[in-house]
């Protein structure tokens, strides 16, 4: 077999990754696990972008991916800092324990 990977395959992989990430984000209680799951969802989106860029032969999708990676780096640092602060404050990073803004 030769030739480029079909777009459909790329999208199926992307959707699968996104669904796994989403499931993790919704079901996990550990903040770091949720965080990792969100990263997974983001990269699933990146994959879809690259797939389209490849399929249409235009560079814009790839450019956007670079932006997303850069922003994800910043977001990761902020998110991890929040977790450190949260842990210092409550001695836990279980999000079920952190529900002060309840009715």
């Amino acid at each position: 077999m030769s030739g480029p990977v079909p777009l459909l395959h790329v999208l199926i992989l992307s959707v699968a990754l996104f669904a796994i990430g989403l499931t993790g984000a919704l079901l996990r209680r550990n903040a770091i696990h949720i965080f990792l799951s969100i990263e997974l969802m983001m990269n699933a989106a990146n994959l879809a972008l690259i797939g389209y860029a490849l399929s249409w032969g235009t560079p814009e999708g790839q450019i956007v991916v670079f932006f997303v990676i850069a922003i994800a780096a910043a977001e990761a640092s902020v998110g991890l800092a929040i977790f450190v602060a949260l842990f210092r404050h409550t001695k836990t990073i279980d999000v079920n324990q952190v529900n002060l803004l309840k009715w």
């Binding site: 989403l22 919704l26 079901l27 949720i34 999000v95 529900n99 803004l101 309840k102 009715w103």
Partner: protein
């Protein structure tokens, strides 16, 4: 100097006193207040003397346009003609005397701030009154009209920390407002009919085409007269004037006897061209005037407050003036305005002097025997009383006789018997007036002293700033009448009539000349009115000064219900209270408790309650758990995608 200076000076005095007076003290206030009024009086007379001795042509001084639209243009213009000249002369002069009197009257018992407030309002009053009488159009008259009403309210309520004074001020304001409403409607009527407000334009248009305007003028004149009824305290709107005595006594003298309350008469006289065209309105004016005259005189018979007696007397005398106007004798009405200003101001200032001497006591049952102790107040008061009673040759005799003669000579086309009835009422009023004034004098100045020991010790004659105005006014009460001698003393003996004739006598061809009485009838009328007045005085003197009030006490005991009715002022205030005030309060309570509290507040509170309830339910969505929110985001996203894909 320009006429504008005459009213600008008191207004400047008002500004200075209200802004600087409380800080600069009584001396400053006295000098500014009386100084500006004195200067205004001097300027007024410097204009009046050449006017009177010259050709007496109407002078109009305009300082520009006030309102200018394509439908209406009104000038800021003042007018000096015989009618405004007459008013100007006594308003400025009596105003000045009362300012001087006030310096003595108010000196002791007021703080610097109160003193400054008093004189500021007094100055403002004079400025407003001068706008009223000098204005050259109905709008300026209205400005002055409202201005004097405001000052009247402020000065009646001068002792605002006393409940009754504040209430009296409110009452005066509200009752006057009813009259002003009619006046305003009358002004709208004038604008609708004539398209303008300038006296010359309105009156010449009405005189040029009487047939065209006469039908509508009846209503307009009645509305204008409603304003006069309010301002000049005629039945049924007179109720505010007796209460207005809650103000300081010089205010009662200036505003509620000599000047402001005559504004209604002045207005009717000013509009005499219109009123002459509306004969039915004239009849109403005469009936209201005649009825008020006798009605108030009867009430005055049984009052025991020295100022209340004078207040009802004022209402009664104002009724006389309207009776004269209604009978077409505008000259006699204005002449009585003038003489009344002198002797009634003198009486009020005299009563102020008595109250001052008695340490605030106003009940004549607790006075008596003040004759010897008040050596200046007593004679001046007596002269003014005789003038009011109509004893020749004092001022009131001539003016009152002119009114009675005019009422007698009046022959309206319809209902001529009413004219005779009104004349009889006027004659009876003259007798009643003489009686209650003599009663007042007897109880106050004669007999034995009936007050407390401290009061007896305290009694003293007032300072010179109070007695000199009394003397001047008493002098004027003696001589003012000679300007209006009856026609029996010669064809041109009545100087006032000659002076006012360009303004107040009927225009040629407009209405019939007033009937002239033969000299014999006129002499008989004079004899009759003098006899009635003398009889009233004699009865008052005998019953109260000589017999000590035994006979009237017996009469009162014999007819207790009738006496109580008169002593309680025919319970008109109670009637108004039951018919108007209490239903109004009840309606207000319904509007408050039902419409406002129940309906309006209810709707708003129900809305707020629903929002709160909804919030109570919806807040359970806020679990505080981030993953629930994430699920919400997911569900929302799914719904959105479903919407986009299905095109739903």
């Amino acid at each position: 100097m320009s006429l504008w200076w005459i009213l600008a000076l008191p207004f400047a005095g008002f500004l200075a006193n209200i802004l600087l007076g409380p800080r600069l003290g009584k001396r400053f206030v006295s000098v500014v207040a009386t100084g500006t009024v004195a200067a205004a009086t001097l300027i007024a007379f410097s204009r009046l003397i050449p006017f009177v001795s010259g050709t007496r042509e109407t002078v109009i001084e305009s300082i520009g346009s006030w309102i200018s639209t394509d439908r209406l243009s009104v000038d800021l213009a003042l007018r000096l003609d015989p009618l405004s000249a007459l008013m100007l002369s006594f308003v400025t002069f009596v105003g000045f005397l009362i300012h001087v009197y006030s310096v003595g009257y108010m000196h002791h018992d007021e703080t610097d701030a109160g003193y400054a407030r008093y004189f500021a309002y007094l100055n403002l009053f004079l400025a407003a009154m001068l706008v009223l009488i000098l204005g050259d159009n109905f709008l300026l008259m209205f400005v002055g009209w409202e201005g004097v009403g405001l000052c009247s309210y402020l000065l009646i309520g001068y002792y605002y920390d006393r409940e009754y004074a504040a209430a009296a001020g409110r009452k005066a304001f509200v009752v006057n407002r009813i009259g002003d409403y009619g006046f305003l409607l009358g002004l709208f009527g004038i604008f609708t009919l004539f398209g303008g407000f300038s006296y010359d334009a309105v009156f010449s248009a009405a005189a040029a085409d009487p047939g065209r305007y006469a039908p509508a003028l009846g209503l307009v004149c009645l509305l204008l007269f409603v304003g006069a009824v309010g301002k000049s305290a005629q039945f049924p709107l007179y109720v505010w004037l007796p209460d207005a005595m809650a103000g300081p006594t010089p205010v009662s003298a200036l505003i509620h006897a000599a000047t402001m309350v005559t504004a209604g008469v002045y207005m009717v006289a000013r509009c005499n061209v219109l009123f002459r065209l509306a004969t039915d309105a004239m009849m109403v004016v005469a009936i209201i005037g005649g009825f008020t005259a006798i009605f108030a005189a009867v009430i005055a018979l049984a009052q025991n407050d020295i100022k209340k007696v004078l207040a009802y007397s004022t209402v009664s005398q104002l009724g006389y003036m309207f009776l004269a106007c209604g009978a077409g004798a505008f000259v006699a009405g204005m002449f009585h305005v003038t003489t009344h200003a002198f002797f009634k101001a003198c009486l009020f200032l005299g009563s102020g002097s008595v109250i001052h001497a008695m340490g605030g006591e106003q009940d004549i049952r607790k006075m008596g025997g003040l004759k010897s102790k008040l050596a200046i107040t007593y004679p001046t008061f007596l002269i003014a009383t005789l003038a009011l009673a109509g004893i020749p040759p004092l001022a009131g005799f001539f003016s009152k006789d002119a009114i009675l003669a005019a009422a007698f000579a009046w022959h309206p086309e319809k209902a001529a018997w009413i004219a005779k009835l009104l004349w009889a009422a006027g004659l009876l009023t003259a007798g009643l007036t003489a009686f209650y004034m003599m009663r007042l004098v007897s109880l106050t100045f004669h007999g034995a002293f009936r007050g407390t020991h401290e009061q007896e010790h305290h009694v003293h004659e007032s300072p010179r700033s109070m007695t000199v105005p009394l003397i001047v006014l008493a002098f004027l009460s003696i001589v003012a009448g000679f300007f209006g001698l009856p026609v029996v003393f010669g064809e041109h003996a009545n100087w006032v009539e000659g002076f006012l004739s360009p303004i107040l006598l009927p225009l040629a061809g407009l209405a019939a000349e007033p009937h002239h009485l033969s000299h014999a009838v006129e002499w008989a009328l004079i004899a009759l009115s003098v006899a009635v007045a003398a009889g009233g005085l004699w009865l008052g003197w005998t019953w109260y000064a000589k017999q000590g009030g035994a006979v009237p006490a017996r009469i009162a005991a014999r007819y207790p219900a009738a006496y109580a009715l008169v002593a309680e002022r025919f319970r008109v205030d109670e009637l108004y209270d039951a018919l108007i005030v209490r239903p109004f309060v009840a309606l207000s309570r319904i509007l408050w408790k039902v419409v406002d509290v129940l309906i309006i507040d209810g709707v708003l509170n129900a809305g707020a309650f629903l929002v709160e309830l909804l919030g109570d339910l919806l807040r359970f969505l806020q679990t505080g758990n981030v993953r629930n929110y994430a699920l919400g985001i997911l569900l929302g996203l799914v719904a959105l995608m479903f919407y986009v894909v299905s095109g739903f």
